[in-house]
Symmetry: C4
Amino acid sequence: MVGHLSSADLAVIASLGEFEDLARDRMDPAGFDYVAGGSWGEVSLLESVQAWRRYRFRPRVLTGASKVDLQGRFLGRPAALPIAVAPMAFQVLAHPDAELATARAAAAAGVPFTMSTSSSVPLEAVAAAIPDARRWFQLYNVRDLDFTRSLVERAASAGYEALVVTVDLPVLGYRLRDRRSDFRTPRMANLPPAIDRPSERYGGLDRRSEFVLSWADLATLSSWSSLPVVLKGILTAEDALLAADAGAAAIVVSTHGGRQLDRSVATADVLEEIVAAVGGRIEVWADGGLRSGLDIVVALALGATGVLVGRPLYWALAAGGQAGVERALAILREELAVALPLLGASTIDAIERAHLR
Amino acid sequence: MVGHLSSADLAVIASLGEFEDLARDRMDPAGFDYVAGGSWGEVSLLESVQAWRRYRFRPRVLTGASKVDLQGRFLGRPAALPIAVAPMAFQVLAHPDAELATARAAAAAGVPFTMSTSSSVPLEAVAAAIPDARRWFQLYNVRDLDFTRSLVERAASAGYEALVVTVDLPVLGYRLRDRRSDFRTPRMANLPPAIDRPSERYGGLDRRSEFVLSWADLATLSSWSSLPVVLKGILTAEDALLAADAGAAAIVVSTHGGRQLDRSVATADVLEEIVAAVGGRIEVWADGGLRSGLDIVVALALGATGVLVGRPLYWALAAGGQAGVERALAILREELAVALPLLGASTIDAIERAHLR
Amino acid sequence: MVGHLSSADLAVIASLGEFEDLARDRMDPAGFDYVAGGSWGEVSLLESVQAWRRYRFRPRVLTGASKVDLQGRFLGRPAALPIAVAPMAFQVLAHPDAELATARAAAAAGVPFTMSTSSSVPLEAVAAAIPDARRWFQLYNVRDLDFTRSLVERAASAGYEALVVTVDLPVLGYRLRDRRSDFRTPRMANLPPAIDRPSERYGGLDRRSEFVLSWADLATLSSWSSLPVVLKGILTAEDALLAADAGAAAIVVSTHGGRQLDRSVATADVLEEIVAAVGGRIEVWADGGLRSGLDIVVALALGATGVLVGRPLYWALAAGGQAGVERALAILREELAVALPLLGASTIDAIERAHLR
Amino acid sequence: MVGHLSSADLAVIASLGEFEDLARDRMDPAGFDYVAGGSWGEVSLLESVQAWRRYRFRPRVLTGASKVDLQGRFLGRPAALPIAVAPMAFQVLAHPDAELATARAAAAAGVPFTMSTSSSVPLEAVAAAIPDARRWFQLYNVRDLDFTRSLVERAASAGYEALVVTVDLPVLGYRLRDRRSDFRTPRMANLPPAIDRPSERYGGLDRRSEFVLSWADLATLSSWSSLPVVLKGILTAEDALLAADAGAAAIVVSTHGGRQLDRSVATADVLEEIVAAVGGRIEVWADGGLRSGLDIVVALALGATGVLVGRPLYWALAAGGQAGVERALAILREELAVALPLLGASTIDAIERAHLR
């Protein structure tokens, strides 16, 4: 393992794809594989990236667009970019500063940060580190509903502005890499040791957080706080409509990084029909496989309100800590700043379906 | 050649694909090629596997499904899984215990075992080994109808509950590997030496078992016993309807492991239209290229009542004998146990066409 | 270069694809490239082979077909197989016996032989070698119409039963291999030295045989003899209809082995629409990329009356002379003998469009 | 780096693709990458080439076409071929004679030459070098409109017959190769040093030539001279119609060599719909990825009036100076001279949509 990159080293990185190899050199192999891997044959893992790249742009010329406004919007409020940091577990595997570094980078870039239930530092510590920045709390049903309720209440107290409820993990996906490496997950700092007991084989989530909630239970969960609820892990128009009916503020179209049901439809392949189905009733965010500003433009053109970016930021964290994540977000910002005028658009809202073939 | 795997070695195997290399190291090369190979350019051999993987899942969330019931059904009666062991010839090539080991593993897992006419132990011995377990007898027309009738009568006496009549082998496929290795098939234990005379070049089936039956002859064959008849090797809706009209209890959509007419349509590509054509009149089983629980879910979603798994179990037999086959079946069981809740389904019957894009 | 194969060596060859490497070892590199190569980027060369392989078979079962009759028909008369030997130039590049060996092998197998204008032995010598066998004469317009007329009259006198007029060579294709090797074609034995003057760069056909005929000129050419005229090199339904109107007895759908206009539509991709367009008025033969009995079954199912096989026989000639070509034809025969019962067909005529998906 | 090729060396080159490796050996790596590279992941760079190759020809026979007339037409006036030299910047990177060599080769071949604003020699010098040949001036909006107006006036004075206004460069594309090599562009000879100040990082065009023109501004630009205006960089039917409405004499369908918005639709994929949209009101030229005469035939069949060829000529310039570019154009001429009779066409105008499948 080699040291973290300096700011000068980071400055010459020009695309998010470069961070993965840098991270591999700086992480424990089993931890790297835990983050990098998907389930079964990792078809969804690969396809989530490729699916965005299948779209082709229809650039418009002489629209006068050269200075652009990249401001995005999540839950009806502005963000510096149409990007938020996706929830990612156990960031201590990447860097000792863990979620603190990632959260500070997000705050510096003006984009919302999603804190995972399975974090390596307590949710309160992240709140204290970025007191004025937008932050959301990702929720698993951990062990039982009583303890889960306590998590919700802590998140609300600590100023998290929304709950991102993960709905695609009733059981843990069948992950070959972790089974082969016999990977054990680290401590979950949000849980007391009595609940975060040493994980059994293949990581503890399969034991600790089986989420057997149904749509009916969701009402209970919502009643515990006044926080808006975002449902993460929707892949069908049917469930998107159920989410809107259930009062969700937004949904995240996601394959959970290709880590749950392999060979699921890719976000890029269902986003448009889901956006059409909800018809503007709630926000639709896109997650999974976004690796460049161009991918994000595709997602926006297909109707996403905004996007979540995950693994590339994890690799950036491993490569350079907070500065690494800042560099990664700066690259996405510049890519958008170049792509929009080339597309003939001056604002995020000006990106539309007709910009894609 | 190296020894068979211990149970501890087997326990770390996490996917069926791992067994093939283990088998190659433990089998005679010509015997391995006989089992592994297909006909002509082996297009169907490859495509039978790939075709399942082209489908994409539409997972449903918050259905409350986390505990699942994996019970399947064949010929109207339950099985522990929607899986049966496909007929496979000459299992002595894989392991000295041959069909006895495979049958015992099937019985232990609660799944039906199909005994091949071309087995390495007599059908009565397998019956004695798993007296209480479901077992079917696969039938070729061997040499002449009189001898074939004696096989049917023996199978009925020995408690086999159905005849699986192979209909896609009027002649042996054009198999390049066997021609090049000058492969000679081993003894067929169900046949007296006078009938199972030393095979001529390229294996004896082309001499011993040419199946010149027509639909009309099928009535004769059915009259020899009260066993239900399953027709294996149907690939068109037209023939599926003829099978239903002829009184078959079930059909097996199959390309015979890619060993007969190369470049035939893949099971995964015709299953749906065949299911639609028979309209529930008879059971439709899927065979060929199923290598994981996800493949099986696809087959079930396309309307198969159940599936047959062949080669992966052959490799598991070569790798670890009965324990190897048990491990392979346990992997399939676990994959299904994870896949169903991720799909939002609690039972095998709950898997439906809408779960596929 | 190594010696020709013995009959024992030939007997273990099981597929036509094996002959190419054997030929490469036995031919001058520039001569091999001349035969093996196509024009421009050789897209058509590759695609002509691949296009047949894209079709999938729909095998029918229990039709009772196991003994099959492989007899084909060309120009209304029977042949042992639905196969004829395609015209191929300069066979001396492959073997000193040149066209004599290929013609004798064709006669032995009962299939028609097409003699090229650009042959290495005179047309009369081939006629003398296979006096009782079916043979056709392939015609280029060489130098001028007067000399071309003399060729037609010689072919008629020597008992050739048809003229196969090549219509896709108004100029020679742009062939990179020959330009790089500075390949010079050998003597054309059918031409007196005064006409077959030493070829200029890239082979002489571009100088000697520019075919500037139009549909109107075809009537003149037909009037020189009573031989039926077959037009070789048709790729559109429009031209197929013009051919029928012009009195052709048959057309050959062909890309000239991928040697003329690269990126032309493949025979397998246009055969069906051409067959439909001519509506049975004339025979439609398929040429190009047929490498196994399965390819031939596809062509027949798409409506071809019969097929021409070229390069594989050239490689077989280089590998083993007459015995090599006989072995190649025997393989095709056996592949057909296996494929037909597996498809559920007893005769060539029983192969139909419904056998393909 | 090795020396330039002799005429004898050039004579054995048979396809444009051979020039790239020859150029790589003769150019500074960063300069080579600047020319060779595209933006982002270089998807458009690759696809621009591949898209032409997806089309298949439908050759017609016996049309009598063997002698062909290759004369093309641009802006209503004849050219020796339906080919013009695309604008390419900084040709000194390829050869010390820079644009002078390329222009002379174009003049010798009878094809129009497009002079870039970003040239390495002044526009007046090129005009003096090919006083009687057709030449166009490619225009960027450099620094400000006043200076840009001076460029237009100089071009008109120097006998350039048209302005080719680049409309797809409001900002410079996101080019990874140049960012990694920290490439600095050379002097722009058309600009006084005060305006052509040393470029900032990644080449100066992003600073010097941001083109913030809108459709309204185009009228101003047109008013500065009587030169017809050609708009280069149109990829949609909508913009093609706007161009016709704005009085453009022609449009160039182009992805700017894959250097601006990556993953844009390829010229070959939108050409037909753009031609249909403009309905003959203005000329439609095709640019991007044309690497052989066959590609050009595809573009013409899709309705292009003519084509621009760029990079292959740049590589030819690097390989052999003026003689290299002449050889490249001679290859294209010969490829067309062979392709047209093989297609059954005698003239450029005879190439039509029905020649493509």
